[in-house]
C-alpha cells in the first residue's frame, strides 16, 4: 500500500517536471520561430508587408486608463491586418513598473511592448531597458501608420534622453491649464485668469461672493503623483527643483514666492483636506461643482465636459496661466509605448507601435469618444474631430496654445525621479496642512532632495 502510494507520488512529480520542461521548451521554440530577421532595412509600404510577421505573438504591458481602451476595442483590427496575435496585460502604474523592472532584471523579455510614463525615461535609459526608436523611424517607417512627422517636438522631447534619442512613441500628452467655472466668473464679472496673480485675485473674490463653492482645488497629497501640480506651478515663477546641471534648487527666492502663493491657494481657498487630495478626490470635487478653479492637466477638461459624469459640463472654460517669470504654469504628462530591449520581436513590436499611433486609430478613438488628447496634430483637421469636439470648442480652440506651452525644462530628468518628487512633495503637503511654514518646508525639502543624491 505504502509502496503504491509512494510510486504514485513519484509518478505525479515526474510527470509535472516533464510537462513543465516541455512547456518551457515549447515557449522558447515559439519565441525563436517568431523572432524574425531584424537586420533587414526596408521601408514598409504596402498592406501585404503588414503580414511580414504573421503567426507571431506580441506581449503588451499597458497601464489602466483611456489610452488602453483603444487597444481593447481595436486590437482585432491589428490582428486581422497583420496576423500578429496580441497578448495584452493591463495594470495600474506602480504594478506595471514593477512588472517591467522585474522582467528586465531577469532579462526574460516576457514583454515586447511597455507603456511608459515620460518621467521614467531617464531611469529606463540609464539601464538600457528600452530600445532607441530612432533607427526604426529612419529605416523602417510604415507608410500607412507612421505618424512621427506630425507630433510636435515638445511632445517627442518628453521621451528623449539627453542625447536626443527617442525611447517611446507618444500616445497621449497633456499640458497644464487652469480650468475655471465660466458661469461663476461671468456672474461676478471676473475676467479670464491669465496669470498666477489673477488666480489668487479671483480666489479672493469667489471666497467672498460664493461661500458654497471652494474657490480652488488641486492635488496636495504627499505622493509623487501630486508633484506635477506644485512643481508645475513653481515653473511659472521660474523655480524648479533641480537646475540643468542637476544641482538641487529647492530653497530659492523664486521657489519661495511660488510656494507661498500655492500654499495660500491650497490652504485658504481649497477644501480643508487639500493636503490629502490626490487626482481622484480632487477631480471628484470639481465634477460635483464644489470648486470654481482647478489647476490640472489639460486632459481633465474633456472629463469635466462629459455631461454623464460631470455636473459642471457646459459651464467651464480653461486658460494657460503665466507667472512672474513669464513661464506658463505646467502640468506636463506624457504616456508612450516603448519596445523592451529584451524583446525577441522588436520589428513586429515597432509595427504595432506605429499602428497604435496611426491617424486611423486616432480617428476611431475620437469617433468612439475615448479621448481627444492625441499628439498627432493631423487629427485636429479631421471632420470627425471637429464634429465630436464641438461641445468643447472652447478647449479645442485653445489646444494649439496649450500644447505649445509645454516646457519640459522644469521637470527633474533624473533616474531617481520618484524619490526626488516624494521628498519635495511631502514637505509641500505638510505646509498645505499648516504643520510647517513655507520657509521650513523648502529648507527641509532642500535637505531631503539633496540627501537623495548623496
Amino acid at each position: 500500500m505504502k509502496k503504491k502510494l509512494f510510486k504514485t507520488i513519484v509518478t505525479v512529480l515526474s510527470l509535472t517536471l516533464l510537462l513543465t520542461g516541455c512547456g518551457t521548451s515549447t515557449k522558447t521554440e515559439q519565441d525563436e520561430s517568431t523572432s524574425k530577421n531584424l537586420n533587414e532595412t526596408n521601408e514598409t509600404t504596402s498592406k501585404d508587408s503588414h503580414k511580414a510577421y504573421e503567426g507571431s505573438d506580441l506581449n503588451v504591458l499597458l497601464k489602466t486608463g483611456y489610452e488602453t481602451e483603444a487597444i481593447n476595442q481595436f486590437a482585432g483590427d491589428f490582428e486581422n491586418e497583420t496576423g500578429i496575435k496580441l497578448n495584452v496585460e493591463v495594470y495600474d502604474e506602480p504594478t506595471l513598473r514593477n512588472k517591467f523592472i522585474l522582467d528586465c532584471n531577469s532579462k526574460l523579455g516576457n514583454y515586447d511592448i511597455v507603456a511608459t510614463q515620460f518621467w521614467y525615461i531617464p531611469e529606463y535609459n540609464q539601464t538600457d531597458w528600452l530600445e532607441a526608436l530612432d533607427g526604426y523611424i529612419a529605416n523602417k517607417p510604415d507608410k500607412d501608420w507612421n505618424n512621427i512627422p506630425y507630433v510636435s517636438d515638445s511632445v517627442l522631447g518628453m521621451f528623449k534622453n539627453s542625447e536626443g534619442k527617442l525611447y517611446s512613441l507618444p500616445v497621449s500628452s497633456t499640458a497644464g491649464v487652469l480650468i475655471y467655472r465660466k458661469d461663476l466668473f461671468d456672474k461676478h464679472n471676473i475676467p479670464e485668469p491669465k496669470t498666477t496673480a489673477d488666480v489668487l485675485k479671483a480666489a479672493k473674490i469667489l471666497k467672498e461672493k460664493e461661500p458654497d463653492v471652494y474657490p480652488f482645488v488641486g492635488r496636495g497629497d504627499s505622493t509623487s503623483g501630486s508633484f506635477g501640480t506644485s512643481a508645475g506651478w513653481a515653473w511659472a515663477y521660474g523655480a524648479r527643483v533641480m537646475d540643468e546641471e542637476g544641482k538641487v534648487t529647492v530653497n530659492t527666492p523664486e521657489m519661495k514666492a511660488a510656494m507661498t502663493d500655492f500654499v495660500e491657494l491650497m490652504g485658504q481657498y481649497a477644501p480643508a483636506d487639500a493636503a490629502a487630495m490626490g487626482w481622484d478626490t480632487m477631480s471628484e470635487m470639481y465634477r460635483q461643482g464644489k470648486a470654481a478653479m482647478n489647476f490640472e492637466m489639460s486632459g481633465f477638461v474633456s472629463a469635466y465636459s462629459n455631461k454623464e459624469v460631470s455636473s459642471v459640463a457646459g459651464s467651464i472654460d480653461c486658460s494657460v496661466i503665466k507667472g512672474p517669470s513669464g513661464n506658463a504654469a505646467q502640468w506636463m504628462y506624457g504616456e508612450g509605448l516603448g519596445i523592451s530591449s529584451f524583446s525577441k520581436n522588436k520589428d513586429s513590436a515597432w509595427l504595432f507601435l506605429q499602428w497604435r499611433n496611426s491617424l486611423g486609430i486616432a480617428e476611431k478613438e475620437v469617433s468612439n469618444d475615448i479621448r481627444f488628447d492625441i499628439p498627432d496634430t493631423r487629427i485636429y483637421e479631421t471632420e470627425t474631430y471637429k464634429e465630436k469636439t464641438k461641445d468643447i470648442g472652447f478647449f479645442t480652440k485653445k489646444l494649439p496654445e496649450i500644447m505649445d506651452s509645454i516646457d519640459a525644462k522644469y521637470w527633474p530628468a533624473t533616474p531617481k525621479f520618484d524619490k526626488v518628487a516624494e521628498a519635495f512633495q511631502q514637505k509641500i503637503s505638510l505646509a498645505i496642512a499648516g504643520e510647517i511654514t513655507v520657509d521650513e518646508a523648502l529648507a527641509q525639502a532642500q535637505t531631503a532632495v539633496e540627501a537623495v543624491f548623496k
Binding site: T127, S222, A276, D418
Partner: protein, 291 residues
C-alpha cells in the same frame, strides 16, 4: 521500505515548500541586506556588510515609522479586544439575537482590505464623505480625517479596528459560550455580584481565548499595509507612514532592494520577538516562563 524512511519521504513535499517559500527568500533577503542591490541600476551588486543596517538605525524616518507602527499596534489590539469583548458579552446575554448578529458582524471580516480602504477613503472625505455629512447634520464641524497630519494615522487605525473586531468577537464569544454556568452559580451563592463574576470568573476563564485574540491581532496589525497605503499613502508628509509603508516605498518605488531587505529582516525579527514574548508571557502553548 522501512516505516521511518516512508514517513520522512511523506514530509518531503511540505519540507520543499517550506524551503523554497520560507527559508530561501529569508536567506536571500539576508544576503541582499548586506549588499547595495538596486533593481534600477545595472551595476553588479557590491557587498557593503552592515552599511544598510547602519543607514536604517541612523535614519530618523525609520524610527518615526517604527514608533507609529508600535502606536498603531498597541491601540489596534487594545481597542479591538475591548470592543470585541463588549459585543461578545452582549451577544452572549441575548441568545435569540446571537446567530443573526454573529453573521452580521462577520461582514467587515469578509470584505477585502483594499475594498474597505477605498470605501472608507470616500466616506472619510472632508467634503462629500458620509461621516462629515452626519457630523454636520448633528451640528458638529467637519473633521479632516485624512488631511490632518495629527489624526490621519488614527483614521487608518479606526478602519483596521473595524475590520479586526469580528475576529476578536467570534473567538471571545466562543470562549464565553464554553464557560460552565455552575461556576457562576457557585460564585453567586458566595455573594459575588456581576462585576465580581466578570473579574474573577469570566476573565480568568477567557484567558486562553484572550491570548489568541491578542496574538492574532498583534500579527494582523503589524502586517497592515493596504489600508494605510490606500487611505493616506503614508501622508500628509509622512505622518501616517508605518514600517510597512516605508519598506514598500524603499523596495517597490525606489527599488533599493538592499536597504529594503535590511528593513524587512529587521521587521521579521521584530515581529517574531513581539509574538514570542506574548506567547511566552502568557504560556498559551505551554511555554510560560517559570518565575
Amino acid at each position: 521500505m522501512s516505516e521511518k524512511i516512508f514517513m520522512r519521504l511523506m514530509t518531503l513535499p511540505a519540507l520543499l515548500v517550506f524551503l523554497f517559500l520560507g527559508v530561501y527568500p529569508t536567506v536571500e533577503a539576508l544576503y541582499n541586506s548586506l549588499t547595495d542591490y538596486r533593481l534600477t541600476e545595472t551595476a553588479p551588486r557590491q557587498f557593503v556588510f552592515l552599511k544598510n543596517y547602519i543607514q536604517m538605525f541612523t535614519t530618523l524616518r525609520f524610527w518615526e515609522a517604527l514608533g507609529r507602527t508600535l502606536l498603531f499596534v498597541l491601540f489596534s489590539v487594545l481597542l479591538t479586544y475591548c470592543i470585541g469583548l463588549l459585543i461578545a458579552f452582549v451577544l452572549n446575554k441575548a441568545p435569540k439575537l446571537r446567530n443573526f448578529f454573529r453573521i452580521l458582524f462577520l461582514v467587515p471580516m469578509i470584505i477585502a482590505p483594499t475594498i474597505t480602504a477605498l470605501n472608507f477613503k470616500f466616506m472619510y472625505n472632508n467634503n462629500f464623505g458620509i461621516f462629515n455629512y452626519i457630523l454636520n447634520k448633528v451640528g458638529i464641524q467637519s473633521i479632516d480625517f485624512l488631511g490632518n497630519p495629527d489624526i490621519s494615522l488614527m483614521s487608518a487605525l479606526l478602519v483596521d479596528i473595524w475590520q479586526g473586531i469580528p475576529l476578536a468577537m467570534l473567538i471571545l464569544l466562543a470562549g464565553l459560550e464554553s464557560q460552565p454556568r455552575s461556576l457562576y452559580e457557585a460564585a453567586m451563592l458566595d455573594g459575588a455580584n456581576s462585576l465580581k463574576c466578570f473579574r474573577h470568573v469570566t476573565m480568568p476563564l477567557l484567558r486562553n481565548f484572550s491570548v489568541i485574540v491578542i496574538v492574532l491581532r498583534t500579527m494582523d496589525s503589524l502586517k497592515v499595509y493596504e489600508i494605510i497605503q490606500l487611505l493616506t499613502g503614508g501622508g500628509p508628509g509622512s505622518s501616517s507612514e508605518t514600517l510597512n509603508i516605508y519598506i514598500s516605498k524603499v523596495g517597490f518605488n525606489w527599488f533599493d532592494m538592499g536597504y529594503a531587505s535590511s528593513l524587512g529582516i529587521f521587521t521579521l525579527y521584530f515581529v517574531m520577538f513581539i509574538t514570542s514574548r506574548i506567547i511566552k508571557a502568557t504560556g498559551i502553548f505551554g511555554t510560560k516562563e517559570v518565575a
